[in-house]
């Protein structure tokens, strides 16, 4: 059962939200069963960064998504509507989350013990 569900709703780059959320999720994974849900502009975090770190002057945390299975994080979800809205079906993504409909998302929220919104 999902003890902590992390909702990631901010795009990368414009604020520290995205990076902090990922750090929090990794910390959470150390002591509980977590799931991650990308919604809205948060889905944009999944686009493979195409520039070198020197070009955008921030930590390249998105590549870390590939390490999630090593942290025993296997439940990574994305909002299907948001994927359509942001045209992500044709993009090269760092990882491919399991896409959920609005109804599925509600069910996951209801089933989670705690939900953390970033």
């Amino acid at each position: 059962m999902t003890q902590l569900l992390f909702i990631l709703s901010h795009p990368p780059g414009s604020s520290i939200y995205a990076q902090e959320a990922f750090d929090a999720a990794l910390a959470g994974s150390a002591f509980s069963n977590i799931a991650i849900l990308f919604v809205g502009a948060g889905c944009l975090q999944l686009i493979e960064p195409k520039l070198a770190v020197e070009a955008h002057q921030r930590k390249d945390f998105q590549r870390g998504f590939r390490a999630l299975p090593d942290y025993d994080v296997h439940d990574v979800y994305g909002c299907e509507d948001s994927f359509k809205q942001f045209g992500l079906h044709n993009q090269t993504l760092v990882i491919q989350p399991t896409l959920l409909t609005r109804v599925d998302i509600s069910a996951h929220l209801n089933a989670a013990q705690r939900v953390l919104c970033f």
Binding site: V39, G40, A41, R102, I105, S106, L109, R114, V115, C117
Partner: protein, 87 residues
């Protein structure tokens, strides 16, 4: 029941469709401006934080329930989850 808070009208525009029929929606901070930008009176799930309306010089909308900080605390306790949508 879940409590969804929106702290800006942008956040409400982006994620306002996410709360389900039995959830509650609370507009706080600049989220209270959503009441001036669109007609929210038909949506009975909406609550607005009275103090944040007052700070922005906005009148309390007649057909929308305005709540106090104490009410917010009570809703938080009653809700299964509190989801904070920010922008």
């Amino acid at each position: 029941m879940m409590l969804h808070t929106f702290n800006s009208s942008d956040a409400y525009r982006l994620h306002g469709h996410r709360p389900s029929a039995e959830d509650l929606i609370l507009l706080i901070e600049d989220g209270v401006f959503a009441t001036t930008q669109q007609d929210l009176t038909q949506d009975k799930r909406i609550r607005v934080l009275r103090e944040d309306l007052a700070q922005r010089g906005l009148p309390e909308p007649t057909a929308i329930t305005c709540i106090t900080y104490s009410d917010w605390v009570r809703l938080t306790i009653e809700s299964q989850h509190c989801l904070s949508w920010t922008r």
